[in-house]
């Protein structure tokens, strides 16, 4: 098994609360992604065995959602909101700056595997724009200075 015992236990626990087995698909994928940073066919098969739902149904659901990537990404996933409220306050320029500083284009990962940069749709931080989500955390009201400091901190392992 690629899924850890801890993840499997959490999946079983969550699945037991739902009236129907199939409803456990999203929570299972979410828990698997939390452990691995990706979910692919092998994982669908493992989840399928744990929650007793056909693999195909898991694959089908997973294909619809952006938060279940099939391949691992960098240690730090940088998601820049590029929708209107953030864009009005310079989100495009922020992505350009990140591309320049990290020497990658959006959608790419740095060679050292530290950073993946993507631009995403609205993350619900419209009144504290521009913003970036790094892994689970939101960083809001960003300025050039704050962003640079944030990046330096991550590079230095803080």
């Amino acid at each position: 098994m690629i899924l850890s015992e801890k993840t499997v236990k959490k999946i079983r626990e969550k699945a037991s609360k739902y009236p129907k087995r199939k409803a456990a698909i999203l929570p299972s994928l979410t828990l698997a992604y939390k452990q691995l940073g990706y979910v692919d066919n092998e994982i669908y098969i493992e989840i399928s065995e744990v929650i007793n739902v056909p693999q195909l149904e898991i694959a089908e659901a997973a294909s619809f959602y952006t938060m279940f990537p099939k391949k691992p990404r960098g240690k730090y996933l940088l998601q820049v909101c590029n929708n209107i409220s953030c864009a009005l306050l310079g989100a495009d320029a922020m992505v350009d700056r990140l591309e320049e500083k990290l020497a990658i284009k959006r959608g790419e990962t740095t060679d050292d595997g530290l950073f993946t940069l993507i631009s995403v749709e609205c993350l619900g931080s419209c009144c504290t724009a521009p913003m970036i989500q790094i892994n689970d955390d939101f960083h809001e009201n960003l300025t050039r200075k704050k962003l640079d400091k944030l990046l330096e901190g991550l590079k230095n392992g803080k």
Partner: protein
């Protein structure tokens, strides 16, 4: 200040106010903890409901209050609850729609992060009103902090007997599940949300049957927005007449507005419905005017799905009827302000890219049409527009509008149509001169 999100609210200004209530405690750093919530009168409404009220009485009170859905559609909450068949032998479900994803909207997030128990209490009361024993809170997956806060609050509520078996000795059982989304705007549409809980792709379902008749697993299901449910405990505590005394005749109560874009003081503000949009943008207690001393160009008043307002229409009361009359919609309350240096074509391109990305693909007009719209608008933005492009846009918009089973198709085209009407010269300039009419530079 130790809040996770540094967002500005008007909580301090409304403290002790006898009317505004949703934000009363959101600047209290400990409001998310059960003890502080109880000190502030938390769960008294839930106790009143379980101890003294019949489900029909709860529905009646909420109907009388005039509360309408705060997620965007504005459907009367009590009436929605009353659609659940009383004699159905099936299980009933209540879903709190916490999939806040409408661009420009970030109000539910504040409630979940800073006052999570009021959301749970509102859900519980709604559940009781419709005879539901298992309720779901569907939170968008990116909101990790909200998910943590709601889950923690739920655990606390269970541990002190506000949820679970035989609540307060009433014999009523109520369980709760936090179900998290995974990055899909469509799941904020109520039938997409139901599919997503069931473990399906978040695609829309054809109505009828409406969810109140056949929702989750073909059982009667009610889907309510976070803000609507958060108002319910206050209505029970202070009465429908108190709630009705706020707002306008047809739009009762208060509403949270997320003010973003080119204003000096962006933030989340609770005001009575009918409050002036002009005041929200310019008053120093709210937006404090347009940033960088610029002039106003346009306002998107209700989130990215709503038609743009020209500056001459901004002197309008923020309520469902007045905004409809002004040619737009109250929507989710996401007010996005654009100053004079904003290019309309660029703005619309941002929006259509979003809708094309989020279209679930079920209905052909929306799936194909949003793609065509994006291609043409991108072409115009890049300076490759042709003389007949605007007619093409008009035609595609007209062929999407009203021809899809969920509102996403309409949402995608209504903002475009409004700018094709009110800023047609700017579109034409962009095609003819192959560049923006304005000198746009949103530096960072």
């Amino acid at each position: 200040m130790t809040f996770y999100s540094p967002v500005v609210t008007n909580a301090k200004e409304i403290a002790g106010h006898d009317k505004l209530h949703l934000f009363e405690f959101v600047e209290d750093e400990n409001q998310h903890k059960l003890n502080r919530y109880l000190e502030h009168g938390g769960y008294t409404a839930w106790k009143t409901v379980l101890g003294k009220m019949k489900p029909e009485e709860v529905i009646e009170e909420v109907k009388k209050s005039g509360l309408r859905g705060r997620g965007g559609a504005g459907f009367p909450t009590g009436m929605k609850w009353s659609f659940v068949p009383k004699d159905s032998p099936k299980a009933r479900y209540l879903c709190c729609n916490a999939d806040e994803s409408e661009p420009g909207t970030c109000k539910d997030r504040v409630l979940m992060e800073r006052d999570p128990h009021v959301v749970i209490e509102g859900m519980a009361i709604g559940a009781y009103a419709i005879g539901c024993h298992l309720m779901f809170c569907y939170i968008r997956g990116e909101f990790h902090h909200c998910i943590e806060r709601i889950e923690k609050a739920m655990e606390q509520a269970y541990s002190k007997g506000h949820l679970g078996k035989n609540i307060y000795g009433s014999g009523y059982d109520l369980e709760m599940i936090v179900h998290t989304g995974a990055g899909a705007y469509m799941c904020g549409e109520e039938t997409g949300l139901l599919n997503s809980i069931e473990g399906e792709k978040g695609m829309a379902r054809i109505r009828p049957p409406f969810p109140a008749i056949e929702g989750l697993w073909e059982c009667p299901t009610i889907v309510n927005n976070v803000e609507s449910l958060a108002a319910v405990p206050h209505i029970i505590n202070r009465g429908a007449d108190w709630y009705r005394s706020m707002g306008t005749k047809k739009s009762a109560g208060t509403k949270l507005f997320s003010l973003s874009g080119h204003v000096n003081r962006p933030g989340n503000y609770e005001v009575e419905l009918g409050f002036s949009l002009q005041k929200l943008i310019y008053d120093s207690n709210y937006g404090n005017g347009i940033s960088d001393g610029k002039k106003l160009k346009a306002v998107i008043p209700g989130g990215a799905s709503t038609p743009f307002l020209t500056p001459d229409k901004v002197d309008v009361p923020l309520d469902y009827e007045s905004l409809t009359e002004a040619g737009s919609m109250l929507g989710s309350g996401g007010v996005i302000v654009l100053h004079e240096d904003t290019c309309i074509v660029w703005t619309i391109l941002k929006l259509i890219k979003f809708f094309r990305h989020e279209s679930c693909g079920k209905c052909t007009p929306c799936r194909e049409g949003t793609g065509w719209l994006e291609q043409i608008i991108q072409k115009i933005e890049d300076g490759r527009g042709g003389p007949d492009d605007l007619e093409k846009l008009d035609s595609i918009c007209g062929n999407i509008l009203g021809r899809t089973i969920c509102p996403l198709g309409d949402a995608a085209v209504m903002p475009i149509q409004s700018t094709l009407k009110d800023w047609r010269d700017e579109w034409l300039y962009h095609i003819e001169h192959k560049k923006c009419l304005v000198n746009q530079n949103f530096g960072f």
